[in-house]
Amino acid sequence: MRISKGLRLAVVAGLLASAAACGGSGDSGGGSGSGGKVELTLLSHYSDGPSKDGLDKMIAQWNKDNPKIQVKAQVVKFDDLLTTMTVRQTGGRGADIVSAYGLWGGQLMKANVVAKVPDDIATKIKAEYSPAALGAVTTGDTLLGYPTELNTYVLFYNKKILAAAGITKPPTTWAELADDAKKTVKRDAKGNIQVEGLSLIQDGDNKSVHPFLSLLDSAGGKFLGADGTPQFDNDQGKAALKFEGDLAAAKASNTSISPTKQFRSGGVAMALQAGWWIGSLKTQMKDKYASDVGVTAIPGPTPGSKGSLAYGFFMGVNQRSKHADEAWKFLTWMNEHKASGGDVTETGKWLADQGLIPPRTADQAEYKKSLSDPNLAPIYDAATYAMAEPNQPGAYEAKTGLHNAIMTVLADGKNPDDALAQAAKAVKPQ
């Protein structure tokens, strides 16, 4: 059979287009280059500022000293990190080393994304890192990787607003905290808030949960059990949420006020926030930071009690990486080598320079000796008593359900007991 020229052209065009549509490399993570050179990829959210500069500096140093194991940083914004990991891992293009939020640890482990930490490295990590840092990156008994960022929650207050309201010292009990919030709140004739007494939210995902869990911890309560069952629907949880609900009902707290935008301009008297906020406030408030900003432990319901939440990030190795040994070698170097001319690790310095708590116990102790900012002391102290954020599979969903329950109380005035019962019912241990 003779095939016309047009038909042949169509066949060729169709095949070419089909090949183009199906084309693409099937590489997963880094690859082996010429001469046995290994290229590792590291996916993180350290995408700008000192976080990116510090990590890039360490990677450049490693690449210079280890020409056969080259590391290449890949960065995305934090909001896109989990989605990027999901899409790339499913498509066989996951990075060799992943930096992830501890809360995601359970689901990453369940989905075979993070590899088991080698025993010798796990033993060292468990011996050398603070309990809060370890708790935030351990699911069940499984350590997910090297703890990196560690944050604890504390009470930030505006010294001038408190002084103007006749308050001479920061609150040390829930009763004092509530009184101070009611004394400092200011509204205009139209009901617009001029100064919020106490902010109970933070920016970002599930914004009401971290402050609530800090209060829950101060009352001796827990979020989830080791098996993922809800532990917050009890007297401690009800007391903590009632405390928040009463403040919202008294209009001393309002969820429409963003503390990260309005604290710096005197629009918020007190806020339950994570330690990383110090770096932002210093940059935004400049000279006013030292005179206006105070930090203290989050008080509990009784004198002497206090609480906090610790959450963290970790760097682990992708289970699908073809170069897991090299990846662990790099991570070990990155987390253990000392900064030049100092007693702390380079990673500890990198994190402390960003206003974060170094997760390694020795680094923490070293930094605590010479804290240039007194506001950092309560943040470091909190690392010794804070409740680690649970991260088993299903924890993220449970946290979102709890956030919705808290918001029904803060925004809609729902009964705290009913809200907690509903949130507890929605928790599905996996």
């Binding site: 199906c22 989990l82 009901g191 617009n192 299903g394 969903e397 925004a411």
Partner: protein
């Protein structure tokens, strides 16, 4: 012999035609193959995969961890104890119906007015601008206007009304977002409806005028009935868009809050899949939404066909 040859020739001619048609058909399919392959890879296969996932338990990332779950995902999704049916599905329908109603009403009004104005191109461009602008820009501008210290509350305060928490009060949040979605959708609908208005022959209006009909009668008895095909197209596309939309909600309320007040099905699917790694329930939700969209679209088409109209 001549008869035999001509008989063979008579038989061979249709055979040649069939062969030619066959070759042409083959060539047509080959030329179509890139588009068909694209359609298959990016539409059919994902759809089949979504159906498989709806009956599975899968945390994402690794296909080897996919487990058969039967109808349990649908049980979870459609349970009245959960949040999907109420408030999420209810929100989705309110959001879609509300924005379709506002956008259609607004676009008919605007298109009718533009049809009677000079510089029609200018007005059409003006109303089409929100369609060109990104959802992020639109959402952020309206978010600022809705703030307690924003433009709308400032106007309300001037009028002696206390500030309203448009996006922080769960009673107002969904209507506030719906209004913005409707506003942003008007431009596209106006374009289609003005084209529909142009297609209405002028002689009907002239005859009505001679019979003494006023503007309202002409609009109600001539414009609206003859605009129905364009209106049907606008209704269906706006409704499907409304049911699937969630970008504006992410920009304006971030997490579908307060307290799920602005959470819609598409956003919940995104959260379940990409945040919680619950791809099975996310896909089951997608299937439920698919069935709802299909049912409502078929209903709209059926109503329209009973009145003897088609969208094309």
């Amino acid at each position: 012999m001549t008869t035999a040859v001509s008989g063979v020739g008579a038989l061979a001619a249709p055979a040649r035609r069939v062969g030619k048609l066959h070759r042409e058909g083959l060539a047509a399919y080959l030329f179509l193959s890139p588009a068909l392959l694209f359609f298959c890879v990016f539409l059919i296969l994902p759809f089949i995969f979504a159906i498989v996932l709806a009956f599975s338990d899968w945390g994402g990332f690794d296909l080897s961890t996919l487990k058969w779950a039967g109808f349990s995902n649908f049980g979870d999704v459609l349970s009245f104890d959960g949040t999907f049916v109420k408030p999420i599905l209810v929100n989705t329908l309110l959001f879609a119906f509300g924005s379709v109603f506002l956008a259609t009403f607004g676009s008919v009004l605007v298109a009718y007015c533009i049809d009677r104005l000079s510089f029609q191109g200018f007005w059409r461009v003006l109303y089409f601008l929100p369609v060109v602008a990104t959802v992020v820009a639109i959402g952020n501008v309206w978010k600022m206007m809705y703030q307690p210290a924003g433009l709308i509350n400032a106007v309300l305060n001037k009028l002696g009304v206390n500030s309203v928490g448009f996006l922080s009060d769960s009673s107002y949040a969904l209507p506030s977002v719906t209004v913005v979605h409707a506003w942003a959708s008007i431009g596209g609908a106006v374009l289609i409806l003005t084209a529909g208005l142009k297609a209405i022959p002028e002689m009907y209006y002239e005859a009505a005028e001679v019979d003494g009909a006023n503007s309202w009668h002409m609009f109600w008895s001539i414009t609206l009935p003859l605009l129905r095909p364009a209106l049907l197209f606008v209704l269906i596309t706006q409704f499907i868009g409304g049911l699937q939309s969630f970008a504006l909600i992410i920009v304006m309320t971030g997490d579908g809050g307060p307290v799920n007040a602005t959470n819609v099905a598409a956003f919940e699917m995104y959260q379940r899949a990409f945040k919680f790694g619950a791809w099975g329930t996310a896909s089951a939700m997608a299937m439920v939404l698919f069935v709802i969209i299909l049912a409502i679209t078929l209903l709209q088409l059926w109503i329209a066909r009973r009145r003897g109209e088609e969208t094309s």
